[in-house]
Amino acid sequence: MPAPIRLRELIRTIRTARTQAEEREMIQKECAAIRSSFREEDNTYRCRNVAKLLYMHMLGYPAHFGQLECLKLIASQKFTDKRIGYLGAMLLLDERQDVHLLMTNCIKNDLNHSTQYVQGLALCTLGCMGSSEMCRDLAGEVEKLLKTSNSYLRKKAALCAVHVIRKVPELMEMFLPATKNLLSEKNHGVLHTSVVLLTEMCERSPDMLAHFRKLVPQLVRILKNLIMSGYSPEHDVSGISDPFLQVRILRLLRILGKGDDDSSEAMNDILAQVATNTETSKNVGNAILYETVLTIMDIKSESGLRVLAINILGRFLLNNDKNIRYVALTSLLKTVQTDHNAVQRHRSTIVDCLKDLDVSIKRRAMELSFALVNGNNIRGMMKELLYFLDSCDPEFKADCASGVFLAAEKYAPSKRWHIDTIMRVLTTAGSYVRDDSVPNLIQLITNSVEMHAYTVQRLYKALLDDISQQPLVQVASWCIGEYGDLLISGQCEEEEPIQVTEDEVLDVLEGLLVSNLSSPVTRGYSLTAIMKLSTRFSSVNRIKKVVSIYGSSIDVELQQRAVEYNALFKKYDHMRPALLERMPIMEKTASNGPTEIVQTNGEAEPSVVEPKHPPPVGQPASQGNDLLDLLGGNDVPVIPTTMPTKPASAGGELLDLLGDLSLGLSLMAFYLFDLFKTVNFLSTGIPPMTAYNKNGLKIDFTFERANPNPNVAVITIHASNSTEADMTDFVFQAAVPKTFQLQLLSPSSNVVPALNQGTVTQVIRVLNQQKQQLRMRIKLTYIHKGSAVQDLAEVNNFPPQSWQ
């Protein structure tokens, strides 16, 4: 068998291959040769073959058949063999293969070898890839070597001990005695590795941390020597003496000083010294300064030192070197929580970094900018951030948009500004906005009541320009559906009102339905919007036509909606106005905010709406009433008050409706916001009652059970006034027996309009733990026709279901 080719030759040959296939062929040939050579158990060439195998492994080819050969090489007496053998072990073997355990004995022997370089090889291999079992077996040897006077071995043993501790933390105690005089070494290699070992021990065990705190003065002294000593050719890097060791010591000091006043005080001076004396022209100096800043921020340093640290970071921000700017932004991000004001001083520089060309820097600057936004700088910051949103790469847009929304929500100086900001984000980065932002935005818009006209107008104009950005389109179509009447009427205080006809609006919405750019969700939104407009516009026929077309749409969701709306037109036309009237303000509950809103939007899949969902009773109804008043229509206001009085039929019809469509509590239920009373009636079955009726003032009580506590009855009072004059300063008070607890929420208003034009509502929550019969005493005060009226009454005719 001819001698296997040399490594160098093989490399040269493989590099001449022009295609991947050619290379693979050569490698396969060589692998076959190597395999047969291995089979022959040839000691002379084993080393060469394994070296070649390692090369092929680096190219990406499998080399597992060489694992055992590596072990044989390690066991050999020749240094060359051992060198390649250990290298092979580190590259080809790992803990997962049981083969590696066979190494343990060899390593043990080599740890006690007479040549330090062999010992070094063994320590290196153990320290790089030793498994827990190996570490357990050999920890004793490592510990012995840690105490040797040979600095070459000592430093390797220290790092090997670090690895052992990482693998088997329980063995940490074993190395404690050997650490006694590690720091008194002069050799920098040993010093460095000792600091690493001490750091590892302190990070893992609070006891060790406490134990090693006494080393702080020694560490401070070593650091001082490093800084003050003159030029040392061995360790000099650009004029700084052993920066690696300096940084490591600073890191250990950070761990030792964290949370401990005494240690922190002991280090204050040296930290100040390092911070002021280090040469900053080269990267090395800045590396040390960076570590110093990190240490100062973490320990209990005095405020002067902290200010110094932040100023260093500020200087970093102005540095030409990109790396240093990046590092500064990262550190400032960490400190912005604790030292907010200090970081604010550098705000303008940080905002400038948004315009940097480097992607990493831009991202950090963006995160930091959001952290710095507060009530004072919101306008300026938002301008910069929106400009950034316009011009940044797509990978940033989603995060930036979410950040802008969050910041705007927290610190918006005015509602108009808030709406404008949202509009700006939707129009510039509309397609990158997260899906869950849409319901949040809708909720925000409904909450700013006075801005409805302005909002819908702007959204409409935006739609005319561009219908490709789905979140924008969804929000816009929802708003048009809700506030289309405001759009048509052209009443807008904030801006020049635009002249829009009903047909134009319907054109736009229909356009959304047919456009290829619209996603199915968007189509759902626009169909619902069109439907809602049937109560707000007069061109009902057109809407009916559109809706009926989609009754046979391929999209199941659209089809379902269209069919239901058709049914609404045909069979339940009298309910249509009530169902489609203005949405009340949605409360954003902390726990289930988004889901609740999604359901009430009616844009979710037809999941069952639990009747307990309706939010605080008082407000929404009155809002609805106010807006109903705006819309006029005499029959409309009647519904909230009359519905409770003919419960059976309404409920019955509703049940039929539900039965017919067999959808359970269908999408219809979603619109029953104002008819929640009916829904609640259905679910609770408690009939409403008249509590008081005198002098034209009538007070009705409606009931529901509040979940999760079934002992709490929620009563809504509806006060209406059938006289010709308003009742102003209306105050309703209630008292209950001692066994109950009463909570009175705020009323919708204190003016009861005349001639039953509206009602004042107020919510009473009664906790009835003992299930006793509910009794209440009420006191009414109001001003009617110029004179004050006061009345007391007892309410005893509570229906039994309300307190059982």
Partner: protein, 188 residues
Amino acid sequence: MRFLLLFSRQGKLRLQKWFTPITEREKKKIIRDMTTLVLARQPRSCNFLQWKDLKIIYKRYASLYFCLAVENQENELLALEVIHRYVELLDKYFGNVCELDIIFNFEKAYFILDEFLMGGEIQETSKQMVNRCIEASDMLQEVRCTGTNAHMDLNHTRSIVISHVVFICLFAGVGILKRLGFWCFTKQ
């Protein structure tokens, strides 16, 4: 430190050092990710990027990219210095090191790395010490088998002569070999 990779501008791997146990498949995936990420960077961008929970520090020297992954609490600027120090060590050893040196002498590059770093930490901060150790280890190598010694630089002719002497003394017995090896080291 978690890993150190060296690769060419075409994405060919020249050296891989892993400081934590990882499966072969994961290693391949990481190598692919790193080469894609680093090679896609603009020429004058900063040398740091965030990848999963690690910080990646990379630097280009001639046609080779040095890519080092460190944990989040480590100092990136110092990592740049670590890369630079390694390049300096290679340069001192090979004399004006170029990519070809590392291709043809990859095992030497590994040996030098193993004298400089161990288990993800720096083991020796003095350039001269590392060089001395490598040279001494080289001298202990018996000349024949791998043929790797043939490529040693002219600067190392002295060590070649001595290694030949060592080879001859092999027959004189292990004890003399040991003593001679030791003597050669102190002579440096």
